[in-house]
């Protein structure tokens, strides 16, 4: 699959998802989004993603890492206090979930070995 094809597919996926979210929000507020608006929001989100990715890459590189970590994403959200807090909470939540699932897994293996 060529890069252009892949990009087209991803753009379509973003467009579809934005369309669904807009419809949902529109129903809540009893308003309708025009197709043009949905397309514009999708295009903006796609380009914003481009900016995000370049920033993330630069952050990871600056920290002399080759993997983008959760810390980099937190740094990306630094400009707005509310967003930063939200992302921080989300990140902690994820870390907790992972710890729990790891505990569960180790408990399972312990029980298995006992059996």
């Amino acid at each position: 699959v060529s890069d252009d094809e892949q990009q087209g597919g991803l753009k379509a996926a973003v467009h579809y998802t934005v369309g669904c979210m807009c419809r949902e929000l529109g129903e809540e507020h009893r308003r309708e989004f025009s197709r043009q608006t949905v397309a514009a929001i999708a295009e903006t989100a796609f380009r914003e993603c481009d900016i995000f990715a370049k920033d993330l890459e630069a952050f990871a590189r600056h920290a002399k890492r080759s993997t983008v970590s959760a810390e980099d994403v937190k740094l990306l959200a630094r400009r707005s206090a509310a967003l930063y807090k939200h992302i921080q909470n989300k990140s902690e939540e994820l870390a907790r979930e992972q710890r729990d699932s790891r505990k569960r897994k180790s408990r399972d293996t312990e029980e298995e070995s006992r059996e």
């Binding site: 991803l10 979210m21 929000l25 308003r31 309708e32 990871a60 590189r61 994403v73 937190k74 967003l83």
Partner: protein, 95 residues
């Protein structure tokens, strides 16, 4: 949700509502992010991908809600591109 805009009175649970569609798209999302990397020697951890998904979801939701509010202020039944155009500069400054 987030009080990015002071006058936005978004219900607090909006951010928590996970639309199933985004989960479908989630598989694509890591491609989406890595696609934009200038050099592909950088990889993305699983956590970072999930957080990025959240970020993009908030971005789209903010865009849609602010446009909605603009349409409401102008007493229009349909959210037109003009409404989105009006909120776009502040939206881009906030992210």
């Amino acid at each position: 949700m987030l009080s990015l805009q002071q006058d936005s009175t978004t219900p607090p649970d909006v951010a928590q509502q996970v639309s199933a569609n985004f989960d479908v798209e989630f598989q694509n999302k890591s491609h989406l992010i890595s696609l934009h990397f200038i050099q592909l020697c950088v990889t993305v951890s699983g956590d970072a991908t999930l957080l990025m998904r959240e970020m993009l979801k908030i971005f789209v939701k903010e865009a849609a809600l602010r446009s909605l509010r603009q349409a409401e202020a102008e007493d229009c039944n349909q959210v037109e591109i003009e409404h989105f155009e009006k909120i776009l500069p502040q939206l881009l400054l906030d992210f």
